[in-house]
C-alpha cells in the first residue's frame, strides 16, 4: 500500500539510479540517519556508548569490509583480526609520531596502510581459492599477531607490550583517551560508519561491485566476458582492507583506549566478524549491520536479562549466554541460510503486495 514503486516517477537519470528507489525506503533511511545524528547523541551515556553503540558501529565497519571481500567477491578471509590489528597499530604509531595531525586523518591513513597490507596478503588469491585461501589468510592472522608481539617498535618499546591511545581532539572536542565524552565517541564512530557504508553501497552498485560479483559467481565465466581477475580480486582485498583497517583503528583508539594484540585481535575476532556477515547475510550492506547488531547486542541483552533482571549467578548467565547465542545462530542458519538480510528482503517483498497478496 505505502511500500511500492507505483506512482513514484523518475524523470532524471540520477533519480532512476538512486540507492533507494522506493519512496518509503528513502524516508526510512533519512529517519534512521536523523535519529542517529540528531537524537541519540543527546541521550547517550557512558554505558550505552561503551557497551552498545560504539562496539556495534565499529564492528559494522569491519563487517562491511569483510562482506565486500567474502560476500561480494567470494574470497574467504580468516585474517580479519590480524588486519584490524594492522589498523590499530598503524593508528597508534601515527598518533604517537605525529601528534599534531588530526586523529581523523590518522584513522584514514591507518585504513590505507591496512589496505596495502591486505592487498599483499591477497596476492595468493590469484592462485588459490576456497579453503586454501582461507588457510592462507589464517596464516596472515597468526603472522600479524606474532609480528606485533615480537617487534617492540610497534608498541614503542613499552614494558608490557600494550599500546594505549593518548588524548587527541577534533575541533577542540576530545575524541580519544579517558576524558572523552560518550557522545563524542559515538559521533566519531557514527560519521565513519555512515561514510563507509555510503562508499561501500555505491561501490557495490557500480562497475567494480559487478566485477566482484562476477568473480564470486564464476571466475572463469567472468574472465571470458572480460573481467580482469587480478584487478577485481585485488581491488576487493584493498577496499576490504581499508574498511577493516578503519575499524581496527577506531576499535583501539576510540573504543578500548588500550589494546594488546593477542587478546584484542586474536583469531576469535576473525571468527566473530565472519559470523556477523554469515548471520547478517553475505553480499549485503544491511546484512553487515544486522549481523554486527546481533553479535554485539545479544550478549549484552542476555546478560542484562539474566543477571540484572533475574538475579542469576554470573557464571551461570555467562554459560547460558553461550548456549542461547549458539542455539540462535544454528537456528538462523537452518531456517534462513541467507541471513537476516534475506528475512528483510522477504519482508519487503511481502510488504510490496500487502494488503492484497493475490
Amino acid at each position: 500500500m505505502f511500500y511500492r514503486e507505483a506512482g513514484d516517477f523518475s524523470t532524471t537519470y540520477p533519480q532512476d539510479s538512486q540507492t533507494f528507489p522506493i519512496k518509503f525506503d528513502r524516508y526510512r533511511y533519512y529517519v534512521v540517519l536523523a535519529i542517529a545524528f540528531l537524537v541519540l547523541p543527546f541521550v547517550m551515556n557512558d554505558y550505552w556508548a561503551n557497551a552498545v553503540f560504539v562496539p556495534f558501529l565499529i564492528y559494522s565497519i569491519a563487517a562491511i569490509g569483510l562482506n565486500i571481500l567474502t560476500g561480494y567477491c567470494g574470497q574467504v578471509s580468516l585474517g580479519t583480526g590480524g588486519f584490524m590489528a594492522v589498523g590499530a597499530y598503524s593508528c597508534y604509531k601515527l598518533m604517537t609520531a605525529f601528534p599534531e595531525v588530526s586523529i581523523l586523518i590518522h584513522v584514514m591513513l591507518a585504513g590505507g596502510i591496512t589496505a596495502a597490507v591486505v592487498t599483499l596478503f591477497g596476492l595468493p588469491s590469484l592462485r588459490i581459492k576456497g579453503f586454501y585461501l582461507a588457510v592462507a589468510t589464517l596464516a596472515a592472522q597468526f603472522f600479524l599477531v606474532w609480528l606485533f608481539n615480537k617487534v617492540p617498535w610497534f608498541y614503542n618499546y613499552s614494558a608490557s607490550g600494550q599500546i594505549s591511545a593518548p588524548e587527541r581532539s577534533v575541533f577542540g572536542i576530545v575524541v580519544t583517551g579517558p576524558n572523552t565524552e560518550a557522545w563524542a565517541k559515538y559521533l566519531v564512530c557514527l560519521i565513519f560508519v555512515t561514510i563507509c557504508a555510503v562508499i561501500a553501497r555505491n561501490l557495490t552498485r557500480g562497475t567494480i561491485g559487478r566485477t566482484w560479483m562476477a568473480i564470486r559467481d564464476m571466475d572463469i565465466a567472468a574472465e571470458i566476458i572480460g573481467v580482469n581477475p587480478l584487478k577485481a580480486k585485488l581491488t576487493a582485498f584493498m577496499v576490504s582492507g581499508f574498511f577493516v583497517g578503519i575499524a581496527g583503528a577506531l576499535f583501539f583508539a576510540v573504543y578500548l583506549g588500550a589494546a594488546e594484540v593477542g587478546e584484542s585481535f586474536g583469531i576469535d575476532k576473525s571468527f566473530l566478524v565472519l559470523f556477523m556477515i554469515i548471520i547478517g547475510g553475505l553480499g549485503s550492506i544491511f546484512g553487515s549491520f544486522a549481523g554486527a547488531a546481533f553479535m554485539v547486542l545479544l550478549p549484552v541483552l542476555l546478560k542484562n536479562i539474566f543477571v540484572g533482571g533475574l538475579g542469576w549467578p554470573t557464571d551461570l548467565a555467562a554459560h547460558l549466554n553461550f548456549i542461547v547465542a549458539g542455539g540462535l545462530i544454528i537456528m538462523f542458519l537452518i531456517l534462513e541460510p541467507h541471513g537476516l538480510a534475506q528475512l528483510w528482503r522477504l519482508a519487503k517483498e511481502k510488504l510490496r503486495l500487502w494488503p492484497f497478496p493475490h
Binding site: A51, N149, A259, E263, L297, L301, T314
Partner: protein
C-alpha cells in the same frame, strides 16, 4: 527498546534504600582462566559477607558486592566497568593485567581508585603519578627480584653464569617482569632466556622442547589459568627437576599442581600471602558457608587463591575503615576511599586482631609509594600431603634495581598523558 526498560528495571530493583558501600567484583568464572578466578572471587566476596553478617558491614554501613563476569576479556571488562561505576563503586579489583591497563585511564578520569594486588601496571607504585592506582602489597618487578634473590640464597650468594629461562604468558601480564629480569641478569651475571606462551596456554610443546634441549639451571614462570597446569605437566614430561622450577604468585595454587599428580612434587612458587590455617576461616565457615551465603560452592575455603581473595578484601575493608576515620563519615565516596587507601597501614597486631595473623607482610602506603613492601616468600608443593610448605620468610626485593625502573616507566607514562607528578 526492550533493553532500556530492562536495564532501567534492573537499576531500580538494585538501587539501595539505605546507604551502602558498593564494591564491584569483576570476576571470571568461565573460560580458560576460571580456575584462578573462581577461588579468588569466592574469597573476596565471602570476606565482605562475613563483615556484613558479623559486624553489620564496615563502620555500620553494609557492603554491597556487585559481581560482573569478565571472562578475563578486556571488552567485557570495559562493559562491566561502565555497568557498575554508576552504582557508586568505591574501588575496582579487576584481577587481570589487561583490564587494569584499560581501566587505569578511565578510572583516573572518573576519580575511582583501582587496587591491583600483586598484578597490573608495576610502575603504578609511583603514587605521585598514578594517583588513583594502588598495587600494594607487591608487584611483578618485586616478584622477579624476590625470585632471583631466592636463587642467590640457594647458590650461596652467586648465580653468575647460570642459565635461567622465563616461561611467560604472551600478554602484558607475562611481559612485565622481563625488563627487571634483564636488569638483574646484568647485575648478577646470569643468562636470561625468555620463552613466550600464547593465550590461552594449552600448547607449550615447543617451549618445553627448547628447555629440554638447553637444560637451563632454573625455570621461572609467569603463568595464569590453564597455562600453569600444562606447564607443570610438560615439565614433568621432560623430567625437568621440579625444585628448579619456580612460578610467580599467580602460578602457585593447588589447582595448578594437582593435575600433574605426584610428578608435581617439589614445584616451587612465590607467594605474597601466607597459606596456613587461620582463625578467620573458622568464622567464615560458621557465619558464611554454613549459613549458605557463600559466593561459590564453598569448597575453596583456605586454598591459596581463596586466601588471596580474602586478603584483598581485608585490605579493601581496612582502607574503607581508614577512609571513614579520616573523613569522619560512614558512607564514603570513591575520592575518600582513595585517601583511605593512601593512608593504609597494615601491622602485625591488626592482622592478628582480624583473625589472620601473618597473612601478609607488614607495610604502609604513602602518596609516593603505592606499592607496599614488595616482599614475597617461596613455597614448595608437597604432593604427598597435598599442601604448600613455606620455605622462606618474606624476602625483601632489590629496590636498587626496581626503583629506577618504576621511576622511568611512570615518568614515561606521565609525559605521554600530560600528567604533572605531585602529592597535593
Amino acid at each position: 527498546m526492550k533493553l532500556t526498560t530492562l536495564t532501567f528495571a534492573a537499576a531500580v530493583a538494585a538501587s539501595p534504600a539505605l546507604a551502602d558501600l558498593v564494591i564491584p567484583d569483576l570476576s571470571y568464572r568461565t573460560g580458560p582462566y576460571a580456575a584462578g578466578g573462581i577461588p579468588f572471587s569466592d574469597g573476596y566476596q565471602d570476606y565482605f559477607t562475613l563483615l556484613n553478617e558479623r559486624d553489620g558491614g564496615i563502620g555500620g554501613v553494609p557492603v554491597r558486592v556487585i559481581e560482573c563476569e569478565t571472562g578475563y576479556n578486556t571488552e567485557k571488562g570495559v562493559e562491566c566497568y561502565e555497568a557498575t561505576k554508576g552504582e557508586g563503586a568505591l574501588v575496582y579489583q579487576p584481577l587481570s593485567t589487561g583490564i587494569t591497563y584499560q581501566l587505569i585511564p578511565k578510572a583516573t578520569a572518573d576519580g575511582i581508585p583501582i587496587h591491583t594486588l600483586g598484578y597490573g601496571r608495576t610502575s603504578a607504585a609511583n603514587g605521585a603519578i598514578f594517583r588513583n592506582v594502588f598495587n600494594y602489597p607487591a608487584n611483578y618487578w618485586d616478584a622477579a627480584s624476590v625470585a632471583v634473590k631466592y636463587l642467590m640464597q640457594e647458590n650461596d650468594g652467586s648465580i653468575e653464569g647460570k642459565d635461567i629461562a622465563l616461561v611467560y604468558h604472551n600478554s602484558a601480564y607475562g611481559k612485565e617482569p622481563i625488563r627487571t629480569l634483564e636488569e638483574l641478569s646484568k647485575k648478577h651475571g646470569f643468562n636470561l632466556n625468555t620463552l613466550a606462551v600464547d593465550h590461552p596456554g594449552q600448547e607449550q610443546k615447543s617451549q618445553w622442547l627448547q628447555i629440554r634441549r638447553e637444560r637451563p639451571d632454573y625455570v621461572l614462570m609467569w603463568g595464569w589459568g590453564v597455562m600453569n597446569q600444562v606447564a607443570i605437566q610438560e615439565a614433568a614430561n621432560i623430567r625437568y627437576p621440579m625444585e628448579n622450577f619456580i612460578g610467580n604468585w599467580w602460578a602457585g595454587a593447588e589447582h595448578d599442581v594437582t593435575p600433574a599428580g605426584m610428578a608435581a612434587n617439589g614445584y616451587k612458587s612465590l607467594n605474597m600471602n601466607a597459606v596456613e590455617d587461620m582463625p578467620v576461616f573458622a568464622e567464615i565457615q560458621a557465619t558464611v558457608i554454613d549459613a549458605g551465603k557463600n559466593a561459590g560452592d564453598g569448597s575453596n575455603l583456605g586454598s591459596v587463591l581463596y586466601t588471596r581473595g580474602m586478603y584483598a578484601a581485608m585490605l579493601t575493608a581496612e582502607a574503607i575503615r581508614k577512609a571513614q576515620e579520616i573523613h569522619g563519615v560512614d558512607d564514603i565516596t570513591p575520592q575518600q576511599m582513595r585517601d583511605g587507601m593512601e593512608a593504609l597501614e597494615i601491622t602485625d597486631a591488626r592482622m592478628e586482631e582480624l583473625g589472620m595473623p601473618g597473612v601478609g607482610p607488614v607495610f604502609s602506603v604513602s602518596c609516593e609509594d603505592h606499592g607496599g613492601s614488595g616482599k614475597g616468600l617461596v613455597q614448595q608443593w608437597n604432593a604427598e600431603a597435598k599442601t604448600w610448605e613455606v620455605l622462606t620468610d618474606f624476602i625483601e626485593p632489590d629496590e636498587e634495581i626496581i626503583a629506577p625502573l618504576v621511576k622511568a616507566d611512570s615518568e614515561a607514562f606521565a609525559a605521554e598523558n600530560n600528567i604533572t607528578a605531585g602529592c597535593s
